[in-house]
Amino acid sequence: MASATTRPAPITPGRPRRRRLWRDTLIGWSFILPNFLGFALFTLVPVIAAFGLAFMDWDSYGTPEWAGLDNFQRLWGDENFHVALRNTLYYAAGHIPLTLLASLGLAMALNRRLRAVNFFRTAAFFPYITSLVAVAIVWNMLFNPTAGPVNLLLEAIGVQDPPRWVSSTDWAMPAVIITSVWRDMGYYMVLYLAGLQTIPKEYYEAAKVDGAGPWQRFWGITLPSLRPTTFFVLVMLTIQSFKVLDLIVVMTGGGPGRSTLVLAQLVYREGITEGQFGYSSAIALVLFLIVFTVTIVQFRINERRNAT
């Protein structure tokens, strides 16, 4: 991208102004360069290469051949892709709102002056820093259909015939979603906590004077004031949900059957396992476009709301 530095932006040139622009460009780049070198070499170039591969036929050995849109055509007719897309949407539809609600709820509960509140906050955050490998083992055992604590608890409170969780096609995805909500809620809770603390106290006092109850205060003040936070949380959650892989791999491996097969896993399977790097890059490109579109839409909605 060095070319960008040699070409000043097309502003009518007053000489000192031009020199200043030059200087700023140099300074700016000098700050960015150390990180950018590593980033460009180890992330940007591979990403561009991968997207180029989406239009090629390459089995990891020999020379890639131009394939045009063949990979995308194949994608359209591939049932695995449709299953994985559905599952990914299912996961996102569960993970995004539930994590949002859980983290908001936690933040509301923990946003008060209390002794030991820091302990409670830390505890809520703890799942997020626990290793995924460990998390997956623990939850798989908790979800064990016959001897697992989750089902023992359900039976104890009178649920007849509790779900078989990871060993049933209907309940495997809910099990994964529950685990992921448990893991992520602490992180987003922290963001919400910060958001809550920026709301001026006077708003609530004024509302109380007007006779608003707790619910009205929540809907009327808290929620609207938290919009920037909610927006950020939503964007991060969306990106994260669509990219989900590690948790699925260690928890269910995509099974039983294809009931938890997600797009990122299909990318991995077609690419690494089957060695069809062109096709797998095509899936990745589609996945990227989906995430990108959703994110752009979220930005647009947010902008429009800000405008009104």
């Binding site: 409670f120 290793s131 205060r217 920037p228 690494i272 990227f288």
Partner: protein, 299 residues
């Protein structure tokens, strides 16, 4: 994308300004407080239950782990599990490798990330925003999509199966730049302008003003990077082949694969793999929560 650098004005207030919103129903303060504590305790124990189960299982015999009914505190606490595991796998090597990688990557990421973030937040030059967009966009690309080109590059450079590969891959992540930039955006430009009038160069501003001001954000970036590197499985799995280079996560996963039914020992390994992170977190917790809170918010 305007929202990225135009956060609504009211979110810029420092957190101290606002008081916690206690919906003060002050008619029965004591009863209310007890109720609150009870609720919070219940919620927290639910959250911590899986981790408690992990700890409890690590102190049992294999056969007791899945026994019904669950015994949360086993009759006989088998601390010997924690001794035995060191003999079963070279855990010290794994821990050492993980520690080395996490520290190096964290250091590089924090250094280059905050440096670049200053360029993105406080220096104006053509192409800056487009470049930043490029950084952002890569966050949305699933890693396994470009894993193979990346691997091939590393292989050409003969860096696979060395710690270098992991360091180079993870030290220059876009996330750190993003996080730090968001934080720097919240520091008023007037502060920099004033410093410039006083004769400070941009590098001086970065070192004398930005770095000290951004301590919480630096701390949170450091912690997040450390935790992510420590917990990463796929990266080391693909790049590190020689067993003496393995990290804790690889060691743990391999242990599970080889000794599938030794539940207690697996849980012992899991506890030990979490312990360093827990200690680190308890120490850095105060900065950490403050740090993410202030920088993450400015989305």
């Amino acid at each position: 994308m305007t929202a990225l650098h135009d956060p609504p004005a009211d979110t810029r207030r420092p957190p101290r300004h606002a008081a916690p919103t206690d919906p003060a129903g002050s008619r029965h303060p004591r009863a209310r407080r007890t109720l609150t504590y009870a609720g919070l305790t219940a919620m927290t124990s639910l959250t911590l239950m899986p981790l408690a189960w992990m700890l409890s299982a690590s102190l049992k015999r294999d056969a007791e782990v899945l026994a019904i009914p669950i015994q949360w505190i086993p009759d006989e606490l088998r601390w010997s599990n924690f001794v035995e595991i060191w003999q079963r796998i070279p855990l010290a090597t794994y821990l050492g490798n993980s520690l080395f990688l996490s520290l190096t990557i964290t250091f590089l990421q924090v250094l280059t990330g905050s440096f670049a973030a200053y360029g993105f937040a406080k220096v104006r030059f053509p192409g800056r925003d487009a470049l930043f967009l490029g950084y952002l966009a890569t966050i949305a690309v699933p890693w396994q999509a470009y894993m193979v080109p990346q691997y091939i590059m590393m292989q050409r450079a003969e860096l696979t199966d060395t710690h270098w590969s992991i360091i180079l891959l993870q030290a220059f992540g876009a996330f750190g730049v993003f996080l730090m930039r968001q934080y720097y955006m919240s520091i008023p430009d007037e502060l920099c302008e004033a410093a410039k009038i006083d004769g400070l160069s941009d590098y001086g501003i970065y070192r004398r003003i930005m770095l000290p001001l951004s301590k919480p954000a630096l701390a949170s970036l450091a912690l997040l990077t450390f935790v992510n590197t420590w917990n990463d499985y796929m990266g080391p799995f693909i790049y590190l082949t020689s067993n003496e280079l393995w990290t804790v996560q690889l060691g743990l996963r391999s242990f599970i694969g080889q000794y599938e039914a030794e539940y207690a020992m697996i849980m012992t390994g899991a506890v030990l793999s979490v312990l360093p992170i827990l200690v680190l977190f308890l120490f850095g917790q105060r900065y950490f929560i403050q740090g993410i809170a202030t920088s993450g918010l400015k989305g």
